[in-house]
Every structure is written in structure tokens, then in C-alpha cells.
């Protein structure tokens, strides 16, 4: 494993770490809202990875203004994709939270172990 490359790609490594933290929360934490926070952390970590892909040295935002040549701009595609991704993330969260409200009405708890018995979700 090439550690100097990993350090150079620090943003990628941190997003991998955040992804794992989110996944841990989703799978282990019993509280449903906690799980959703973990899901959101996972999502933003992937977004961080994609946005970091587009960076170039001394890059400028991809907006045509005076004094910014196209070769100085960062890659706009990841940004366009992530714009979609953020909206998708908030949509999923909204649906999940409405489900949480319903679950709390039926079970009077948000603890996965209490809702499901021993196995959890």
C-alpha cells in the first residue's frame, strides 16, 4: 500500500474514514434518528470525495468572469452531480424521518432493539 499517495490524497482518505464512521452508526447504533445522522454523514463523505476529485492547483470556481480562463477552472461535473446528490439525500432523510414519527406513534420508542426484539433492525 502506497502511504505517501494516501497522504497526498488526504481528502479522499478522510472521506473514506467518514464513510466508515457513518456505516458504523447505521449498523450498530440502536436509535433510529442516530442511524439517520449516520446515513447523512455517509452521504456527505461521498460528496466530499467527488468534489475533491475536481480540484486543480490554483483552481477557480467554474464561473465565466473577467480574468478567469477556462484552463483555470475546476471540474464542474462533480459539482453538478453533487447538487443532485444533496437534494436526493435530503429527500431520503425527509421520508425516513416521517417513518420515524410513525414508528414512534406505534411503538412509543425509537430503539431498534425494543422495536424488533433481540436482533435489532
Amino acid at each position: 500500500m502506497n502511504f505517501s499517495r494516501i497522504f497526498h490524497n488526504l481528502n479522499y482518505a478522510v472521506s473514506a474514514l467518514l464513510f466508515l464512521m457513518g456505516l458504523y452508526t447505521v449498523t450498530v447504533k440502536p436509535n433510529l434518528i442516530k442511524k439517520l445522522i449516520g446515513l447523512n454523514i455517509m452521504e456527505t463523505s461521498v460528496f466530499l470525495l467527488i468534489v475533491s476529485l475536481g480540484m486543480i492547483p490554483d483552481g477557480q470556481a467554474p464561473i465565466v468572469t473577467n480574468g478567469v480562463r477556462p484552463s483555470m477552472m475546476v471540474n464542474p461535473i462533480p459539482q453538478a452531480l453533487i447538487l443532485t446528490g444533496i437534494v436526493v439525500a435530503v429527500s431520503t432523510t425527509a421520508v425516513a424521518l416521517s417513518l420515524c414519527i410513525r414508528i414512534h406513534e406505534k411503538y412509543d420508542t425509537l430503539d431498534a432493539f425494543k422495536i424488533h426484539g433481540r436482533g435489532g433492525l
Partner: protein
């Protein structure tokens, strides 16, 4: 892109994410998560993505946090 600022923001990101995961009080976790989103927005301005930074600040830190808080308000606040 400023390497020092980038590094600092990454460290803060990991700290806030860990805090949001570990804090037992869900309301506090939601607020910390909102801070996490804002840090992410700042990081994105450093990565020259102003559109995304605005979106994340409005949607991630704003709308998502409000939805979380509304849900916590309608359900339970403490993680048992």
C-alpha cells in the same frame, strides 16, 4: 486551496462527525450535525464549489437539521 486550512477543516469534520455519533442527547447531536454540514460547506468553498457550499448550507445545515429537530420534538429526545 490552502493546505493548512484544508487540514484543519478535515480534522474538525472528523471531530464533529464523531461527536454527532457519540452524543447521547439527540437534539445536541442534531445541532452538532448541523455544524458538521456547515464545516463541509466551508470546505467546499475552499474546493472552489460555491454553488455546492450554498446548497449544503441551506439544505444540509438548514432543512435537514430542522427536519431532524422537528422529528426529535415529536418523538423522544434522549437516546436510551
Amino acid at each position: 486551496m490552502n493546505w493548512v486550512l484544508n487540514l484543519l477543516l478535515l480534522i474538525f469534520l472528523v471531530c464533529t462527525a464523531a461527536a454527532a455519533i457519540l452524543i447521547k442527547d439527540l437534539l445536541a447531536a442534531a445541532i452538532v450535525f448541523s455544524a458538521y454540514s456547515l464545516l463541509m460547506a466551508i470546505l467546499w468553498t475552499q474546493l472552489r464549489a460555491p454553488d455546492l457550499a450554498i446548497t449544503e448550507a441551506a439544505v444540509g445545515a438548514g432543512v435537514t437539521t430542522v427536519l431532524l429537530i422537528v422529528t426529535i420534538y415529536r418523538t423522544v429526545r434522549k437516546e436510551e
